[in-house]
């Protein structure tokens, strides 16, 4: 596979496909980062508060790094991309849009999301697009602590008490169909795969299922067998909660988008 050494070397259909891929990844990171930040000051214990706040900071940092690549590819500047778009312009999956729910739901969501991110970053570290491979190699190292955190809590709460188990199972039942939506096929998958930029979504999904299944099993949790993926996010169709989240997140920015901070 020929390497694409610089962003400038991206052209035509490949360039368009890379832009779409970056929007998907950046928007997922931004929105789950915002959801995680809703635990700042509200988590059950101080360490949990710090954990979700730190993970929020990581995800938003990653979103910013992706938006910067998009900007280098001719899209608007990172702040405008984060704060200046309408809901239908976002390409995030429904999983990240859902309200934070109880702490168990946020934990399960983050666990499923981080595992998906790990699979995608691992694939992208081998990407033919060199600047993306370099960035994702870096980001993957940071994610390992998210995985440790998620795994630790999923195992503990899945196996602790009848109540904690029931809450975690209910959270998994709710989150799983949305997590499958992280791998929504897009019209760009074939182009990305052919160019060696990113593995096909269906292949990533298989890797993800193999990664989460043993942990869920050890936690005594059952993957809902009739889970039907919730699609739509990658083409801008979102649950109403995204618009509510954006209203809040963009409130200050939209008062004066040109303000200097």
């Amino acid at each position: 596979m020929d390497k694409i050494e610089t962003l400038d070397a991206l052209t035509g259909a490949t360039r368009e496909a890379v832009v779409h891929l970056l929007y998907r990844m950046a928007d997922d990171e931004l929105i789950i980062g915002h959801r995680n930040s809703e635990w700042t000051g509200h988590a059950p214990i101080l360490e949990a508060d710090i954990a979700f706040s730190s993970m929020a900071q990581d995800e938003m940092g990653h979103a910013q790094a992706y938006y910067e690549i998009l900007h280098a590819l001719g899209e608007r500047d990172p702040d405008t991309l984060a704060f200046g778009r309408k809901p239908r312009e976002y390409r995030c999956a429904s999983l990240v849009c859902l309200p934070k729910g109880d702490w168990g739901f946020s934990l399960i969501r983050q666990f499923l999301y981080d595992a998906a991110e790990q699979v995608r970053l691992t694939a992208l570290a081998e990407s033919s697009l060199v600047p993306l491979a370099q960035l994702t190699t870096k980001l993957r190292g940071e994610e390992k602590y998210h995985m440790m955190h998620g795994r630790t809590w999923v195992l503990r709460l899945g196996n602790a008490t009848t109540e904690s188990h029931a809450k975690m199972q209910a959270a998994l039942d709710r989150a799983y169909p949305h997590a499958l939506g992280l791998f929504e096929p897009t019209e760009f998958d074939e182009t990305l795969a052919q160019a060696g930029v990113c593995t096909r979504e269906e292949e990533l999904q298989k890797q993800w299922e193999s990664a989460v299944a043993p942990v869920l099993d050890d936690a005594g949790l059952e993957v809902p067998d009739s889970a039907r993926p919730v699609f739509g996010g990658r083409v801008g169709k979102h649950p109403p909660e995204l618009a509510e989240l954006l209203n809040q997140m963009q409130m200050v920015y939209s008062i004066d988008p040109a303000a200097k901070w």
Partner: protein
């Protein structure tokens, strides 16, 4: 590019950057970067942190490549500005500070002197970055009493790069620079 590179005004003193060789200029920039510290760990310089990937002279301009510790590090813009100011405090008149991800920063890039300073600061230095699994955070050596009878309290700490531990020997909480 700028008036400094032209000789249209022979009476004006040539900038100092034209009087010394490139290797000397590069060496002096590395030296001045020793004065720029990570604002969250003010005892250790960006050089000792391994954040400076490259220093070079491109024409009349100094170029510094900065490889960030964490992509989400809120201090990056501040560090870039401080690097810029530090370089401009030398003979250099023009500097560009790039953020690069190649080489990717890892805790293995922290120098031996840097590790010693982290310990003196009360922050247990990172271990080998290639170790995976939660045991990478178990039995971290206490920076105060050197005991390894320590427990992991929290994977996440006051900054993105730190975890929180407790030493059962000297009964102190301490922070550890996580390996990435």
């Amino acid at each position: 590019m700028s008036a400094q590179t032209q000789n249209s005004k022979p009476t004006r003193e040539a900038p100092a950057s034209e009087k010394v060789g490139r290797s000397k200029r590069v060496k002096d920039i590395w030296n001045v970067l020793q004065s720029v510290t990570d604002p969250e760990i003010p005892v250790i310089s960006v050089v000792e942190m391994g954040m400076i990937a490259d220093v070079r002279i491109d024409g009349d301009r100094a170029v510094v490549d900065l490889t960030p510790t964490f992509a989400g590090c809120p201090a990056i813009d501040l560090i870039r500005r401080e690097i810029r100011e530090a370089v401009l405090s030398t003979r250099e008149r023009d500097v560009i500070v790039n953020v690069v991800y190649d080489p990717p920063w890892s805790t293995d890039r922290i120098s031996d002197v840097g590790r010693k300073k982290l310990t003196e600061f009360g922050l247990a230095p990172p271990r080998d970055c290639c170790v995976n699994g939660v045991d990478t955070l178990e039995k971290v050596e206490c920076p105060f009493c050197k005991s390894t009878e320590t427990d992991l309290e929290s994977i996440f700490g006051p900054t993105l790069c730190r975890s929180i531990h407790y030493c059962r020997a000297c009964l102190q909480s301490f922070e550890h620079f996580k390996s990435v």
